[in-house]
Protein backbone atom coordinates (compact mmCIF):
# COMPACT_ATOMS: atom_id res chain seq x y z
CA UNK A 1 0.00 0.00 0.00
CA UNK A 2 1.65 3.17 -1.14
CA UNK A 3 0.92 6.77 -0.60
CA UNK A 4 2.51 8.56 -3.50
CA UNK A 5 0.58 11.75 -3.00
CA UNK A 6 0.97 12.49 -6.63
CA UNK A 7 -2.44 12.90 -8.19
CA UNK A 8 -2.06 16.01 -10.27
CA UNK A 9 -4.18 18.86 -9.02
CA UNK A 10 -7.42 19.31 -10.94
CA UNK A 11 -7.52 22.35 -13.13
CA UNK A 12 -9.38 25.31 -11.65
CA UNK A 13 -13.03 25.66 -12.60
CA UNK A 14 -13.38 26.63 -16.23
CA UNK A 15 -9.73 25.88 -17.00
CA UNK A 16 -10.11 22.20 -17.95
CA UNK A 17 -10.57 21.46 -21.63
CA UNK A 18 -13.02 18.73 -20.74
CA UNK A 19 -16.29 19.19 -18.88
CA UNK A 20 -17.01 16.91 -15.93
CA UNK A 21 -19.77 15.05 -17.75
CA UNK A 22 -17.36 13.93 -20.49
CA UNK A 23 -14.97 12.61 -17.85
CA UNK A 24 -17.85 10.81 -16.13
CA UNK A 25 -19.05 9.35 -19.44
CA UNK A 26 -15.56 8.04 -20.20
CA UNK A 27 -15.31 6.51 -16.73
CA UNK A 28 -18.63 4.71 -17.21
CA UNK A 29 -17.47 3.50 -20.64
CA UNK A 30 -14.21 2.16 -19.16
CA UNK A 31 -16.06 0.35 -16.37
CA UNK A 32 -18.57 -1.14 -18.80
CA UNK A 33 -15.76 -2.23 -21.15
CA UNK A 34 -13.81 -3.89 -18.33
CA UNK A 35 -16.90 -5.72 -17.08
CA UNK A 36 -17.79 -6.80 -20.64
CA UNK A 37 -14.25 -8.14 -21.26
CA UNK A 38 -14.36 -9.91 -17.90
CA UNK A 39 -17.72 -11.54 -18.65
CA UNK A 40 -16.61 -12.52 -22.16
CA UNK A 41 -13.42 -14.09 -20.77
CA UNK A 42 -15.44 -15.96 -18.14
CA UNK A 43 -17.84 -17.28 -20.78
CA UNK A 44 -15.14 -18.13 -23.34
CA UNK A 45 -13.46 -20.84 -21.29
CA UNK A 46 -10.05 -19.58 -22.45
CA UNK A 47 -8.71 -19.64 -18.93
CA UNK A 48 -8.82 -22.56 -16.54
CA UNK A 49 -12.35 -23.01 -15.21
CA UNK A 50 -13.33 -20.55 -12.48
CA UNK A 51 -10.07 -18.57 -12.60
CA UNK A 52 -12.22 -15.79 -14.01
CA UNK A 53 -15.71 -16.49 -12.64
CA UNK A 54 -18.72 -14.70 -14.08
CA UNK A 55 -19.75 -11.38 -12.58
CA UNK A 56 -22.98 -12.96 -11.35
CA UNK A 57 -21.04 -15.54 -9.36
CA UNK A 58 -18.84 -12.85 -7.83
CA UNK A 59 -21.89 -10.75 -6.95
CA UNK A 60 -23.54 -13.79 -5.34
CA UNK A 61 -20.36 -14.53 -3.37
CA UNK A 62 -20.14 -10.89 -2.30
CA UNK A 63 -23.74 -10.91 -1.09
CA UNK A 64 -23.21 -14.23 0.72
CA UNK A 65 -20.02 -12.90 2.30
CA UNK A 66 -21.62 -9.70 3.54
CA UNK A 67 -24.58 -11.57 5.00
CA UNK A 68 -22.40 -14.05 6.93
CA UNK A 69 -22.06 -13.03 10.60
CA UNK A 70 -18.77 -14.91 11.04
CA UNK A 71 -17.18 -12.74 8.32
CA UNK A 72 -17.68 -9.68 10.53
CA UNK A 73 -16.09 -11.54 13.42
CA UNK A 74 -13.00 -12.23 11.29
CA UNK A 75 -13.09 -8.63 10.07
CA UNK A 76 -13.20 -7.49 13.71
CA UNK A 77 -10.17 -9.66 14.56
CA UNK A 78 -8.15 -8.18 11.71
CA UNK A 79 -9.32 -4.62 12.44
CA UNK A 80 -8.39 -5.08 16.11
CA UNK A 81 -4.92 -6.37 15.23
CA UNK A 82 -4.36 -3.49 12.82
CA UNK A 83 -5.70 -0.93 15.32
CA UNK A 84 -3.44 -2.15 18.13
CA UNK A 85 -0.41 -2.33 15.84
CA UNK A 86 -1.07 1.20 14.61
CA UNK A 87 -1.36 2.39 18.20
CA UNK A 88 1.86 0.72 19.37
CA UNK A 89 3.88 1.22 16.19
CA UNK A 90 2.61 4.78 15.76
CA UNK A 91 3.40 5.78 19.35
CA UNK A 92 6.85 4.14 19.23
CA UNK A 93 7.60 5.67 15.84
CA UNK A 94 6.49 9.07 17.05
CA UNK A 95 8.66 8.88 20.18
CA UNK A 96 11.72 7.74 18.22
CA UNK A 97 11.07 10.31 15.48
CA UNK A 98 10.84 13.15 18.02
CA UNK A 99 14.03 11.94 19.73
CA UNK A 100 16.02 11.66 16.51
CA UNK A 101 14.57 14.86 15.09
CA UNK A 102 15.37 16.89 18.19
CA UNK A 103 18.93 15.58 18.75
CA UNK A 104 21.13 16.17 15.74
CA UNK A 105 23.83 13.70 16.73
CA UNK A 106 21.36 10.95 17.64
CA UNK A 107 19.57 11.51 14.35
CA UNK A 108 22.80 11.26 12.35
CA UNK A 109 23.89 8.20 14.33
CA UNK A 110 20.72 6.12 14.18
CA UNK A 111 18.50 7.43 11.37
CA UNK A 112 20.53 5.70 8.63
CA UNK A 113 19.54 2.36 10.21
CA UNK A 114 15.89 3.38 9.98
CA UNK A 115 16.36 4.39 6.32
CA UNK A 116 17.98 1.08 5.52
CA UNK A 117 15.48 -1.07 7.42
CA UNK A 118 12.49 0.95 6.16
CA UNK A 119 12.36 -0.51 2.62
CA UNK A 120 13.17 -4.07 3.79
CA UNK A 121 10.28 -6.51 3.25
CA UNK A 122 9.00 -6.86 6.82
CA UNK A 123 7.33 -10.22 6.21
CA UNK A 124 10.78 -11.85 6.47
CA UNK A 125 10.70 -11.07 10.20
CA UNK A 126 7.56 -13.17 10.64
CA UNK A 127 9.38 -16.38 11.69
CA UNK A 128 11.07 -14.36 14.45
CA UNK A 129 7.77 -12.83 15.51
CA UNK A 130 6.22 -16.30 15.74
CA UNK A 131 9.08 -17.39 18.00
CA UNK A 132 8.73 -14.32 20.18
CA UNK A 133 4.95 -13.88 20.34
CA UNK A 134 3.49 -17.26 19.38
CA UNK A 135 1.16 -18.23 16.56
CA UNK A 136 -1.81 -16.22 17.91
CA UNK A 137 -2.75 -12.59 17.30
CA UNK A 138 0.43 -11.40 19.09
CA UNK A 139 2.69 -12.24 16.15
CA UNK A 140 0.28 -10.54 13.70
CA UNK A 141 0.16 -7.41 15.86
CA UNK A 142 3.97 -7.49 16.05
CA UNK A 143 4.16 -7.67 12.25
CA UNK A 144 1.85 -4.66 12.04
CA UNK A 145 3.95 -2.81 14.61
CA UNK A 146 7.28 -3.28 12.83
CA UNK A 147 5.65 -2.42 9.50
CA UNK A 148 4.07 0.76 10.87
CA UNK A 149 7.01 1.93 13.00
CA UNK A 150 9.42 2.94 10.22
CA UNK A 151 7.29 5.33 8.13
CA UNK A 152 5.97 7.05 11.26
CA UNK A 153 9.45 7.41 12.80
CA UNK A 154 11.02 8.74 9.59
CA UNK A 155 8.15 11.11 8.94
CA UNK A 156 8.14 12.39 12.54
CA UNK A 157 11.94 12.91 12.52
CA UNK A 158 11.72 14.88 9.26
CA UNK A 159 8.74 16.87 10.61
CA UNK A 160 10.56 17.60 13.84
CA UNK A 161 13.47 19.16 11.97
CA UNK A 162 11.11 21.41 10.03
CA UNK A 163 9.56 22.98 13.12
CA UNK A 164 10.11 26.73 13.24
CA UNK A 165 13.02 27.29 15.69
CA UNK A 166 11.19 30.34 17.04
CA UNK A 167 8.41 28.12 18.40
CA UNK A 168 10.94 25.92 20.18
CA UNK A 169 12.73 28.96 21.64
CA UNK A 170 9.38 30.34 22.84
CA UNK A 171 8.64 27.06 24.61
CA UNK A 172 12.06 27.02 26.24
CA UNK A 173 11.83 30.66 27.29
CA UNK A 174 8.60 29.71 29.11
CA UNK A 175 10.59 26.92 30.82
CA UNK A 176 8.26 24.27 29.42
CA UNK A 177 8.96 20.72 30.59
CA UNK A 178 9.79 18.00 28.02
CA UNK A 179 6.19 16.75 28.20
CA UNK A 180 4.84 20.27 27.71
CA UNK A 181 7.24 20.84 24.81
CA UNK A 182 5.99 17.65 23.13
CA UNK A 183 2.30 18.35 23.75
CA UNK A 184 2.24 22.13 23.24
CA UNK A 185 4.95 22.75 20.66
CA UNK A 186 6.22 19.66 18.81
CA UNK A 187 3.00 17.73 18.13
CA UNK A 188 0.85 20.72 17.07
CA UNK A 189 3.66 22.02 14.83
CA UNK A 190 4.22 18.71 13.05
CA UNK A 191 0.66 17.51 12.60
CA UNK A 192 0.92 17.20 8.83
CA UNK A 193 4.07 15.03 8.75
CA UNK A 194 2.57 12.88 11.51
CA UNK A 195 -0.67 12.42 9.56
CA UNK A 196 1.36 11.55 6.44
CA UNK A 197 3.45 9.08 8.44
CA UNK A 198 0.35 7.51 9.99
CA UNK A 199 -1.24 7.24 6.57
CA UNK A 200 1.77 5.37 5.24
CA UNK A 201 2.00 3.42 8.49
CA UNK A 202 -1.65 2.36 8.30
CA UNK A 203 -1.12 1.08 4.77
CA UNK A 204 1.89 -1.05 5.62
CA UNK A 205 0.36 -2.20 8.92
CA UNK A 206 -2.64 -3.54 6.97
CA UNK A 207 -0.31 -5.38 4.60
CA UNK A 208 1.93 -6.71 7.38
CA UNK A 209 -0.95 -7.97 9.49
CA UNK A 210 -2.89 -9.53 6.62
CA UNK A 211 0.15 -11.23 5.10
CA UNK A 212 0.99 -12.70 8.49
CA UNK A 213 -2.59 -13.99 8.69
CA UNK A 214 -2.30 -15.61 5.27
CA UNK A 215 0.93 -17.33 6.32
CA UNK A 216 -0.12 -18.77 9.68
CA UNK A 217 -3.42 -18.10 11.40
CA UNK A 218 -6.84 -19.55 12.11
CA UNK A 219 -8.71 -16.26 12.18
CA UNK A 220 -8.89 -12.93 10.38
CA UNK A 221 -9.41 -11.83 6.78
CA UNK A 222 -5.99 -13.05 5.64
CA UNK A 223 -6.87 -16.51 6.91
CA UNK A 224 -10.20 -16.43 5.05
CA UNK A 225 -8.47 -15.39 1.81
CA UNK A 226 -5.92 -18.20 1.96
CA UNK A 227 -8.68 -20.64 2.93
CA UNK A 228 -10.69 -19.61 -0.14
CA UNK A 229 -7.53 -20.17 -2.23
CA UNK A 230 -6.97 -23.60 -0.68
CA UNK A 231 -10.56 -24.61 -1.49
CA UNK A 232 -10.29 -22.97 -4.93
CA UNK A 233 -13.40 -20.92 -4.13
CA UNK A 234 -12.51 -18.18 -6.59
CA UNK A 235 -15.75 -16.15 -6.44
CA UNK A 236 -15.39 -15.90 -2.66
CA UNK A 237 -11.75 -14.92 -2.99
CA UNK A 238 -12.59 -12.16 -5.48
CA UNK A 239 -15.41 -10.99 -3.21
CA UNK A 240 -13.08 -10.79 -0.21
CA UNK A 241 -10.41 -8.97 -2.19
CA UNK A 242 -13.00 -6.43 -3.39
CA UNK A 243 -14.20 -5.76 0.17
CA UNK A 244 -10.65 -5.60 1.45
CA UNK A 245 -9.52 -3.16 -1.25
CA UNK A 246 -12.53 -0.93 -0.66
CA UNK A 247 -11.92 -0.90 3.09
CA UNK A 248 -8.16 -0.29 2.75
CA UNK A 249 -8.53 2.49 0.20
CA UNK A 250 -11.33 3.98 2.31
CA UNK A 251 -9.26 3.90 5.51
CA UNK A 252 -6.31 5.46 3.68
CA UNK A 253 -8.50 8.18 2.20
CA UNK A 254 -10.09 8.82 5.60
CA UNK A 255 -6.72 9.42 7.29
CA UNK A 256 -5.70 11.68 4.38
CA UNK A 257 -8.98 13.60 4.65
CA UNK A 258 -8.50 14.06 8.40
CA UNK A 259 -5.08 15.53 7.64
CA UNK A 260 -6.45 17.88 4.98
CA UNK A 261 -9.37 18.91 7.21
CA UNK A 262 -6.94 19.60 10.01
CA UNK A 263 -4.70 21.68 7.73
CA UNK A 264 -7.68 23.64 6.37
CA UNK A 265 -8.99 24.17 9.90
CA UNK A 266 -5.64 25.61 10.98
CA UNK A 267 -5.40 27.89 7.97
Amino acid sequence: MAETGSVTAPAPAGMSRFPANRVLALRICIIVAILAVWEATAASGLLYRDVVPSLGKIADALAALLSTPSYYWHLGVTAGEIGISLLIGGAAGLAVGILFGSHRLLGRAFEPYLYYLGPTPKIIFFPIMIMWFGVGPGSKIAMGVISCFFPVALSAAAGMREIDRVLIRVGRSFRASTWQMVMKIYLPAMRQPIVNGLRLGLGVAIIGTLLAETKLSNRGIGYLIIQAYSLFDMPKMYAMLIVLFVLSIGANALVGRIGRFDAAHRN
Partner: protein, 259 residues
Protein backbone atom coordinates in the same frame (compact mmCIF):
# COMPACT_ATOMS: atom_id res chain seq x y z
CA UNK B 1 28.60 17.85 21.76
CA UNK B 2 29.44 18.94 18.25
CA UNK B 3 31.55 21.82 19.59
CA UNK B 4 33.58 19.41 21.71
CA UNK B 5 34.09 17.00 18.84
CA UNK B 6 35.03 19.85 16.49
CA UNK B 7 37.60 21.09 19.00
CA UNK B 8 39.16 17.61 19.12
CA UNK B 9 39.27 17.39 15.33
CA UNK B 10 36.56 14.69 14.99
CA UNK B 11 33.84 15.49 12.51
CA UNK B 12 30.25 15.10 13.65
CA UNK B 13 29.66 12.55 10.90
CA UNK B 14 32.47 10.32 12.19
CA UNK B 15 31.25 10.69 15.75
CA UNK B 16 27.70 9.82 14.69
CA UNK B 17 28.93 6.76 12.79
CA UNK B 18 30.87 5.47 15.79
CA UNK B 19 27.96 6.24 18.12
CA UNK B 20 25.52 4.32 15.92
CA UNK B 21 27.85 1.43 15.23
CA UNK B 22 29.07 1.32 18.84
CA UNK B 23 25.51 1.19 20.16
CA UNK B 24 24.77 -1.69 17.79
CA UNK B 25 27.84 -3.62 18.98
CA UNK B 26 26.96 -2.96 22.65
CA UNK B 27 23.40 -4.12 22.00
CA UNK B 28 24.61 -7.35 20.41
CA UNK B 29 27.07 -7.96 23.25
CA UNK B 30 24.29 -7.33 25.79
CA UNK B 31 22.00 -9.82 24.02
CA UNK B 32 24.85 -12.37 23.96
CA UNK B 33 25.42 -11.86 27.69
CA UNK B 34 21.73 -12.09 28.57
CA UNK B 35 21.34 -15.30 26.59
CA UNK B 36 24.45 -16.82 28.19
CA UNK B 37 23.12 -15.80 31.63
CA UNK B 38 19.85 -17.56 30.83
CA UNK B 39 17.77 -14.38 31.01
CA UNK B 40 16.76 -14.72 27.35
CA UNK B 41 15.67 -18.14 26.11
CA UNK B 42 18.33 -19.38 23.65
CA UNK B 43 15.70 -21.52 21.90
CA UNK B 44 13.85 -18.35 20.94
CA UNK B 45 16.70 -15.91 20.32
CA UNK B 46 19.99 -17.39 19.09
CA UNK B 47 23.25 -15.91 20.34
CA UNK B 48 24.70 -13.25 18.01
CA UNK B 49 27.94 -15.28 17.90
CA UNK B 50 25.94 -18.27 16.58
CA UNK B 51 24.31 -16.04 13.98
CA UNK B 52 27.71 -14.77 12.79
CA UNK B 53 28.93 -18.36 12.76
CA UNK B 54 25.97 -19.35 10.59
CA UNK B 55 26.88 -16.92 7.79
CA UNK B 56 29.52 -19.16 6.27
CA UNK B 57 27.25 -22.22 6.49
CA UNK B 58 24.32 -20.38 4.92
CA UNK B 59 26.47 -19.00 2.11
CA UNK B 60 28.17 -22.32 1.33
CA UNK B 61 25.44 -24.87 2.00
CA UNK B 62 22.29 -23.00 1.07
CA UNK B 63 23.49 -21.60 -2.26
CA UNK B 64 22.91 -17.98 -1.31
CA UNK B 65 24.61 -16.82 -4.52
CA UNK B 66 22.22 -18.84 -6.66
CA UNK B 67 19.20 -17.67 -4.70
CA UNK B 68 20.39 -14.09 -4.85
CA UNK B 69 20.76 -14.47 -8.63
CA UNK B 70 17.19 -15.77 -8.91
CA UNK B 71 15.74 -12.93 -6.80
CA UNK B 72 17.85 -10.45 -8.79
CA UNK B 73 16.59 -11.80 -12.14
CA UNK B 74 12.99 -11.64 -10.91
CA UNK B 75 13.57 -8.07 -9.71
CA UNK B 76 15.25 -7.12 -12.99
CA UNK B 77 12.39 -8.50 -15.10
CA UNK B 78 9.79 -6.87 -12.90
CA UNK B 79 11.73 -3.58 -12.76
CA UNK B 80 12.10 -3.44 -16.54
CA UNK B 81 8.36 -4.01 -16.98
CA UNK B 82 7.58 -1.36 -14.37
CA UNK B 83 9.83 1.18 -16.09
CA UNK B 84 8.46 0.52 -19.58
CA UNK B 85 4.77 0.25 -18.67
CA UNK B 86 4.81 2.86 -15.89
CA UNK B 87 6.63 5.58 -17.82
CA UNK B 88 4.85 4.66 -21.08
CA UNK B 89 1.39 4.80 -19.56
CA UNK B 90 2.26 8.03 -17.75
CA UNK B 91 3.29 9.61 -21.07
CA UNK B 92 0.17 8.39 -22.82
CA UNK B 93 -2.08 9.67 -20.05
CA UNK B 94 -0.28 13.03 -20.20
CA UNK B 95 -0.86 13.14 -23.95
CA UNK B 96 -4.57 12.24 -23.67
CA UNK B 97 -5.92 14.57 -21.00
CA UNK B 98 -9.48 13.24 -20.97
CA UNK B 99 -8.20 9.71 -20.22
CA UNK B 100 -5.91 11.14 -17.57
CA UNK B 101 -8.75 12.94 -15.82
CA UNK B 102 -10.90 9.82 -15.97
CA UNK B 103 -8.33 7.36 -14.65
CA UNK B 104 -5.81 9.22 -12.48
CA UNK B 105 -7.75 8.84 -9.22
CA UNK B 106 -8.20 5.14 -9.96
CA UNK B 107 -4.46 4.70 -10.41
CA UNK B 108 -3.88 6.59 -7.13
CA UNK B 109 -6.37 4.26 -5.42
CA UNK B 110 -4.53 1.28 -6.89
CA UNK B 111 -1.25 2.66 -5.56
CA UNK B 112 -2.73 2.75 -2.06
CA UNK B 113 -4.36 -0.70 -2.32
CA UNK B 114 -2.71 -3.72 -0.68
CA UNK B 115 -2.05 -5.45 -4.02
CA UNK B 116 0.29 -7.96 -2.40
CA UNK B 117 -2.78 -9.67 -0.94
CA UNK B 118 -3.72 -10.68 -4.46
CA UNK B 119 -0.93 -13.26 -4.46
CA UNK B 120 -3.32 -16.23 -4.11
CA UNK B 121 -5.11 -14.94 -7.20
CA UNK B 122 -1.83 -14.58 -9.10
CA UNK B 123 -0.90 -18.09 -7.99
CA UNK B 124 -4.05 -19.41 -9.61
CA UNK B 125 -3.53 -17.41 -12.81
CA UNK B 126 0.24 -17.87 -13.32
CA UNK B 127 0.93 -20.98 -11.25
CA UNK B 128 3.54 -21.45 -8.54
CA UNK B 129 6.49 -20.19 -10.55
CA UNK B 130 8.67 -17.13 -11.07
CA UNK B 131 5.99 -15.40 -13.18
CA UNK B 132 3.71 -15.05 -10.17
CA UNK B 133 6.53 -13.33 -8.28
CA UNK B 134 7.49 -11.11 -11.23
CA UNK B 135 3.88 -10.06 -11.84
CA UNK B 136 3.29 -9.37 -8.14
CA UNK B 137 6.33 -7.08 -8.15
CA UNK B 138 5.08 -5.42 -11.32
CA UNK B 139 1.57 -4.85 -9.92
CA UNK B 140 3.00 -3.26 -6.79
CA UNK B 141 5.40 -0.91 -8.54
CA UNK B 142 3.69 0.32 -11.69
CA UNK B 143 1.05 2.71 -10.24
CA UNK B 144 3.67 4.83 -8.44
CA UNK B 145 5.75 5.20 -11.63
CA UNK B 146 2.71 6.10 -13.74
CA UNK B 147 1.52 8.71 -11.24
CA UNK B 148 4.94 10.31 -10.82
CA UNK B 149 5.50 10.40 -14.60
CA UNK B 150 2.20 12.21 -15.06
CA UNK B 151 3.05 14.55 -12.20
CA UNK B 152 6.44 15.38 -13.70
CA UNK B 153 5.07 16.03 -17.20
CA UNK B 154 2.08 18.05 -15.99
CA UNK B 155 4.34 20.05 -13.68
CA UNK B 156 6.62 21.25 -16.51
CA UNK B 157 6.84 25.01 -16.26
CA UNK B 158 4.77 26.84 -18.85
CA UNK B 159 7.67 29.10 -19.74
CA UNK B 160 9.80 26.13 -20.92
CA UNK B 161 7.00 24.92 -23.18
CA UNK B 162 6.55 28.44 -24.57
CA UNK B 163 10.29 28.70 -25.26
CA UNK B 164 10.08 25.42 -27.19
CA UNK B 165 7.19 26.76 -29.20
CA UNK B 166 9.07 29.99 -29.87
CA UNK B 167 11.89 27.89 -31.37
CA UNK B 168 9.34 26.05 -33.55
CA UNK B 169 10.22 22.66 -32.07
CA UNK B 170 8.38 19.67 -33.47
CA UNK B 171 6.19 17.74 -31.00
CA UNK B 172 8.91 15.05 -30.79
CA UNK B 173 11.61 17.66 -30.10
CA UNK B 174 9.32 19.40 -27.61
CA UNK B 175 9.00 16.09 -25.79
CA UNK B 176 12.66 15.04 -25.82
CA UNK B 177 14.19 18.49 -25.28
CA UNK B 178 11.67 20.12 -22.92
CA UNK B 179 9.10 17.83 -21.31
CA UNK B 180 11.21 14.75 -20.59
CA UNK B 181 14.20 16.55 -19.00
CA UNK B 182 11.82 18.64 -16.89
CA UNK B 183 9.92 15.55 -15.76
CA UNK B 184 12.99 13.40 -15.03
CA UNK B 185 13.31 14.24 -11.31
CA UNK B 186 9.70 13.24 -10.67
CA UNK B 187 10.05 10.14 -12.86
CA UNK B 188 13.08 9.06 -10.82
CA UNK B 189 11.18 9.54 -7.57
CA UNK B 190 8.44 7.33 -9.00
CA UNK B 191 10.94 4.73 -10.20
CA UNK B 192 12.63 4.58 -6.83
CA UNK B 193 9.27 4.22 -5.03
CA UNK B 194 8.10 1.65 -7.54
CA UNK B 195 11.28 -0.39 -7.31
CA UNK B 196 11.15 -0.41 -3.50
CA UNK B 197 7.52 -1.61 -3.54
CA UNK B 198 8.53 -4.19 -6.14
CA UNK B 199 11.41 -5.58 -4.05
CA UNK B 200 9.22 -5.76 -0.95
CA UNK B 201 6.62 -7.73 -2.88
CA UNK B 202 9.09 -10.02 -4.60
CA UNK B 203 10.90 -11.14 -1.44
CA UNK B 204 7.59 -11.20 0.47
CA UNK B 205 5.85 -13.42 -2.09
CA UNK B 206 8.91 -15.69 -2.31
CA UNK B 207 8.60 -16.16 1.44
CA UNK B 208 4.84 -16.66 1.38
CA UNK B 209 4.63 -19.15 -1.48
CA UNK B 210 7.92 -20.82 -0.54
CA UNK B 211 9.34 -20.47 -4.03
CA UNK B 212 12.29 -18.65 -5.59
CA UNK B 213 15.30 -17.06 -3.99
CA UNK B 214 16.09 -15.39 -0.69
CA UNK B 215 12.50 -15.23 0.61
CA UNK B 216 12.15 -18.99 0.22
CA UNK B 217 15.44 -19.58 2.02
CA UNK B 218 14.15 -17.77 5.13
CA UNK B 219 11.00 -19.86 5.06
CA UNK B 220 13.00 -23.08 4.62
CA UNK B 221 15.37 -22.33 7.48
CA UNK B 222 12.52 -21.25 9.79
CA UNK B 223 10.63 -24.46 9.05
CA UNK B 224 13.81 -26.44 9.83
CA UNK B 225 14.02 -24.50 13.12
CA UNK B 226 17.51 -23.34 12.14
CA UNK B 227 17.33 -20.12 14.13
CA UNK B 228 20.93 -18.88 13.62
CA UNK B 229 20.54 -19.59 9.89
CA UNK B 230 17.18 -17.78 9.77
CA UNK B 231 18.64 -14.70 11.47
CA UNK B 232 21.72 -14.79 9.23
CA UNK B 233 19.55 -14.96 6.09
CA UNK B 234 17.33 -12.14 7.34
CA UNK B 235 20.49 -10.09 7.81
CA UNK B 236 21.48 -11.01 4.27
CA UNK B 237 18.09 -9.86 2.87
CA UNK B 238 18.38 -6.58 4.80
CA UNK B 239 21.84 -6.19 3.27
CA UNK B 240 20.43 -6.82 -0.21
CA UNK B 241 17.70 -4.20 0.24
CA UNK B 242 20.28 -1.72 1.58
CA UNK B 243 22.49 -2.37 -1.48
CA UNK B 244 19.46 -1.99 -3.74
CA UNK B 245 18.49 1.26 -2.04
CA UNK B 246 22.04 2.66 -2.34
CA UNK B 247 22.33 1.46 -5.94
CA UNK B 248 19.14 3.24 -7.05
CA UNK B 249 20.48 6.43 -5.46
CA UNK B 250 23.80 6.04 -7.29
CA UNK B 251 22.08 5.36 -10.63
CA UNK B 252 19.95 8.46 -10.17
CA UNK B 253 23.04 10.55 -9.39
CA UNK B 254 24.84 9.08 -12.40
CA UNK B 255 21.94 9.82 -14.75
CA UNK B 256 21.29 13.24 -13.21
CA UNK B 257 24.74 14.52 -12.28
CA UNK B 258 23.47 18.01 -11.51
CA UNK B 259 20.84 16.78 -9.06
Amino acid sequence: MSAVSARRGISEGTLAFFLGFGALVIFLLAVEGLIRAGLINRHIVPMPSQVFGAFERVVLEEDVAGRFRLTFIEALASGAMIAVVGIGSGMLLYRFELWRRATETWIAALASAPTVLMYPLFLVIFGRNAWTIIMMGFAAGVPAVTLKTIEGLVGTRRVFINVGRAFNLTPAQQFTKILLPAALPSIFVGLRLGLIFMLINIVGVEFLINFGGLGQLINDLAERYDLPGTYATIFFVVLVSVCFFVLTERVERWLRPGA
